[in-house]
């Protein structure tokens, strides 16, 4: 494979050159194609399709929707039309980059300006120039090169009727990290991250399975503690049991998660710090009302419900008043 310096030297040789000879529109601007376009896009403006209305308008007759500009010069159905690929330097650049390890392509920007309305009978010619090819860029999709082209559209008299700039990215796709990738494409819904279970927390999650929110309690001094710890910070006893919370409490603080998306979590998602009436706090989701309605001090009541086919979690609902 060629090295980066050689690739970039070869790419930069294209800048300022045309992608090939001017392309002539296969058909003159015509009412049939205008009608198909308007039907497909649901554009009901009569000046494009109704001859009588158009005659009485400022245009004095039917005109084409300006946004059809590029449509006039698009190559026909590829299996039916002769291939002129070899004449197009854009194809050449694409092959060069694919060979250098940048096989993917995505269009990123397009701007057009329309200088006059096109009318049935106009014949359109287009010429495209490589305006710029970037240095190597790291993007969210992958590392690659931005290619900017500018196409000038002219009529049969050689007068410019509009232009278009187009930017594509040719890139090497990023390897998607395992943790961030969606679950395998089964019909199964992605699931939330599991709590790692160990000596110091398994009993609490077993409580959730049993339908209980447990609060660890020191057997010697009765101090409640959450999250649980193996030793009492007040009296250093390692003897403990638990009480079962009534699940009633109030919102001490809360956030609404919007970004980044993580499989298994439906966004926006309210995560709140709940102060239980027993006195300890815990983090859990508030559902049963839109996240925007959650307020500090709001009374909530827990229900232990399935988060998916396997994991149960305490969910807090606005308390009935």
């Amino acid at each position: 494979m060629m090295d980066k310096a050689e690739l970039e030297a070869r790419l930069s040789a294209y800048v300022g050159t045309t992608t090939g000879p001017p392309v002539a529109a296969p058909d003159a601007v015509n009412e049939a194609m205008i009608r198909h376009w308007c039907e497909a896009l649901g554009d009901r403006l009569p000046v494009y399709t109704d001859a009588d209305t158009a005659r009485q308008s400022v245009h004095g007759g039917i005109v084409a929707p300006p946004t059809m500009l590029q449509a006039w010069i698009l190559r026909g159905f590829s299996m039916a039309s002769p291939s002129d690929e070899d004449k197009d330097a854009q194809v050449e650049v694409g092959r060069l980059l694919a060979a250098a390890g940048y096989p993917s392509v995505v269009a990123t920007n397009c701007e057009q300006e329309y200088l006059r309305y096109l009318r049935p009978g106009d014949r359109i010619f287009a010429e495209t120039v490589f305006e710029a090819i970037s240095g190597q860029k790291a993007t969210a999709l992958g590392t690659g090169y931005f290619i900017d082209t500018r196409t000038t559209f002219r009529d049969e008299r050689g007068e410019s009727v509009g232009w278009m700039t187009f930017r594509i990215l040719r890139f090497k796709p990023n390897q998607v990290p395992q943790a961030a990738s969606p679950a395998p494409s089964t019909s199964q819904k992605p699931r939330r991250l599991r709590p790692p279970l160990g000596h110091d927390n398994r009993w609490w999650w077993e409580g959730i399975e049993a339908g209980e929110i447990r609060i660890q309690r020191c057997k010697r001094c009765a101090t409640l503690r959450h999250p649980p710890r193996p030793m009492c910070g007040t009296c250093q006893s390692i003897e403990w049991d638990w009480i079962v919370s009534q699940g009633a409490g109030s919102v001490y603080s809360h956030v609404v998660m919007h970004h980044p998306p993580v499989p298994g979590y439906d966004l926006p998602l309210c995560v709140a710090l709940i102060e239980l009436d027993e006195g300890t706090r815990l983090v859990a989701n508030v559902i049963g009302c839109p996240p925007s309605q959650v307020r500090i001090g709001m009374r909530v009541q827990a229900r232990i419900e399935p988060a998916d086919d396997e994991l149960r979690l305490p969910f807090f609902y606005p308390a009935a008043t």
Partner: protein, 390 residues
């Protein structure tokens, strides 16, 4: 009288860094080696003179790998500091203790990562091993509280509720760092200012935090060279004297999620760092000419202004109005653009800027630079220091 053996005992005599980017295109070890080499060149010290190295526990670059890469020979001291960005000044503390005690004569501090192109912290935690730390995350992962922004947002909502602080107040912090980054060619936002309206229009990440309340995830490395103060005075490179330095964890501390304290609207660990650092340096808030306050997120700057006594509790929102964090303000802050606008190198780019402020070489140099405060990560056991003129 309190004996303070570390007061004025050590100095930072060299700073180095790589460029900051979204894709360094090289290994973390290479970034570390380049940053260390640059810091040594700045100090005018040969690699073979280095006998100590310190870094973060989160750093992937082994001391011995860095030493071999840079041509550092025998090491008599190495130590690591835990808790993410909270280590940023802790590593300096360790280096200062080592050179003050004679365990080492020249310690290099380094931190380098591909935090943008490699493992991004913003993608959240997903701990496979069942350690105490993994159990700690089990209280948050199933509920979707997975990212640094989300943890900071939980404190922020409560703080804003208690003190009437608004998103527009947070915007003041973001706007001030951008004003500084506009003049800093090393900054992501070089030449790109920000308005309060643009901040307010940016999308939510973890409500109440918006995109522009969050720092720039970055690739890069930074390093500093620490030697005894008496040696620093004889050196050609202008050094920054470590007047006071401290690290602290607070009561009922968790790693980013200390949600179970009676109040979650202030930082007990940072209060403790401030108390110790001022005591060691024999200084008070009015003595501080400029500050580098760790700014992974905008609200953490407000809380630190309160911890370090620049304003009363809950009044930081008033302090940051009227450009007080900008050049010419009451406390020029994050003159490099901070982690919000220069780059996020776990606070270590801020240490380099702190030394530049003392040297008088910042691109946004305030006039008053007798003493400069530099702090480390927020929400974790943390650290801080006051630098002064040699």
């Amino acid at each position: 009288m309190n004996v303070q053996p570390l007061q004025d005992a050590a100095a930072i005599v060299g700073i180095g860094q790589t460029e900051f980017s979204k894709n360094s295109g090289r290994s973390e070890l290479q970034l570390a080696a380049e940053a260390v080499r640059a810091a040594l060149a700045d100090a005018g010290i040969e690699p073979k003179e280095v006998d100590g190295l310190t870094t973060f526990t989160m750093d992937t670059n082994d001391e011995i790998e860095v030493a071999r890469s840079v041509g550092i020979g025998d090491l008599t001291f190495f130590a690591r500091t835990p808790y993410g960005g909270g280590a940023a000044i802790g590593v300096i503390l360790h280096a200062a203790m080592a050179v003050a005690s004679g365990v080492a004569n020249c310690v290099v501090v380094y931190r380098a990562f591909n935090e943008r192109s490699g493992r991004r912290y913003s993608t959240g935690v997903s701990e496979p091993l069942v350690t105490a730390d993994a159990i700690h995350w089990s209280w948050y992962m199933p509920f979707g509280l997975l990212t640094p922004a989300s943890w900071v947002a939980m404190y922020s909502q409560r703080y804003m509720h208690e003190y009437g602080c608004t998103g527009r107040d947070l915007a003041q912090v973001a706007v001030s760092t951008r004003k500084h980054a506009v003049h800093n060619p090393n900054a992501f936002f070089y030449g790109r200012a920000l308005t309060v309206e643009e901040h307010q229009a940016s999308r939510w990440i973890a409500e109440p935090l918006r995109l522009f309340d969050c720092c720039q995830e970055s690739d890069g490395g930074c390093a500093q060279v620490i030697v005894p103060a008496r040696r620093a005075r004889a050196m050609k490179a202008k050094g920054a004297l470590i007047r006071g330095v401290a690290q602290a964890a607070g009561r009922d501390q968790e790693n980013m999620t200390s949600f179970y304290r009676p109040s979650i609207s202030y930082l007990p660990e940072m209060d403790l760092v401030a108390k110790q650092t001022y005591a060691m340096a024999g200084l008070a808030p009015p003595d501080i000419g400029a500050a580098i306050l760790y700014d992974a997120f905008t609200p953490v700057v407000l809380w630190q202004l309160e911890s370090w006594g620049f304003c009363s509790r809950g009044e930081a929102k008033d302090f940051v109005r009227d450009g007080n964090l900008e050049l010419g303000g009451a406390l020029p802050c994050n003159t490099h653009g901070g982690q919000l606008s220069e780059a996020y190198i776990h606070g270590m780019n801020g240490v380099n800027e702190g030394v530049r402020l003392i040297r008088g070489t910042s691109v946004n140099q305030p006039k008053k630079n007798e003493h400069v405060l530099v702090t480390a990560g927020v929400g974790v056991p943390t650290s801080g220091m006051i630098l002064g003129q040699l």
